[in-house]
Symmetry: D2
């Protein structure tokens, strides 16, 4: 069991959302942030780095955004829907843009193929958490 | 002149937005992140910490979100409106919620009064950048 | 296989360290950052929040530091030992201090017991990566 | 007066260090993080991006590290020297390495010249805070 799930089990109050959905989202965003950080670095090591600039840039954005959101959704105390809901929608768009760009390089670079997957899972996780919060 | 403005002056390409508006936004978000980080810590030092929990929590969210956005809007290369616009709108809401909560404690705690100001400036900066991008 | 390990497999150059050790460190630091973020929030929800202030504070430090280090060690391109080695040593101390504080509350709060474990693993992971870089 | 200084003035307890030195360090690290984030992006926009890879990588490290340290030193509550001192020393090394690399490109790229300055100020600020803590 991941630390995310263990800590949700040990949370002293009740939740606003299903703990399983929340833990899965936290894991997916951590994976996405991690993959995007690594992919930006992989791109910098490629021969065709000049063609990878957009991918590098979107990976840095996506990593920053997913990392910030892991913080926001990990905080269940005094939950505020006005903060969380618009952020979840916006971040799903970030994952989508980054995943689309990674996909464009997936045939040439295996690391972009893997990262595109992580972005798709991140986008889906944002949307599932949004649905669970309704 | 701030480093933000100096570096925008030295940027090798053209921008999508007015450099003055962009630099002002970056400064306002840095200030807001900084104030929220300090305010969360100030709250933890107060006698009535149990009543400050919501404020601490929103300050942590607002700091994380503003810090991530400084990264996103500082990156002008291969700018992608699908990423930036929804994030700017969502982050304006975060600043608003955090500023509202800080305001509730402004009479009792000077640090909350100052931070509420920083959040208002942050919110306004997000909205001005959005308007400038139209 | 974690995204960390998959992406190291797909890295276009050679490494400075054993990829298995590196991937294990990245996973341990991600877990530690995540646990500390959650534990700070759990502490804020406790009745005895005033007694948890040191734990909250150290958890925030440890989360910030581990998250930054995931970025630094994920970047293998143009690796610079002068940057990485002192940071690894300093961050091991952060994990140790945070783990010690969490341990003090482990009997009373299950979430602190779990987070103490994550900090111990984080500390050990920093030390193993340091040893592997010798 | 910066938000950093205003909030230190409003802090409810006493400090471990001179508030002026602390506020100057926070400002210098914020500036350095900001300059490094912008410089990494500027480098990505340059024609000779392949020659800028080391500079991009170190700027990303330096930004991550300075940003994390703004959090750590902004937290004065329950200050722990075992956490702060080794981090300050390690981060001074990060600023030095990044400043050295930026300097190498200062003649060709104005943005690297400006960022080298911000790194020098960051390094010095870390060392002055360390000295003030003795």
């Amino acid at each position: 069991m991941s630390y995310g799930m263990q800590l949700l089990d040990a949370y002293p109050r009740t939740f606003n959302v299903d703990a399983g959905v929340l833990a899965a989202t936290i894991d997916a965003l951590n994976d996405c942030a991690q993959a995007c950080t690594a992919d930006a670095d992989d791109d910098l090591s490629e021969q065709n780095v000049a063609e990878m600039v957009k991918c590098i840039r979107l990976c840095m954005d996506c990593a920053d955004v997913c990392q910030a959101m892991v913080g926001v959704i990990s905080r269940q105390t005094e939950y505020d829907a006005n903060v969380t809901r618009p952020l979840l929608e916006a971040c799903a768009s970030t994952c989508k843009s980054c995943g689309d760009e990674c996909d464009r390089h997936a045939m040439m670079h295996e690391h972009c193929r893997i990262t595109a997957q992580a972005c798709r899972r991140g986008e889906q996780a944002f949307r599932e958490l949004l649905a669970a919060m309704k």
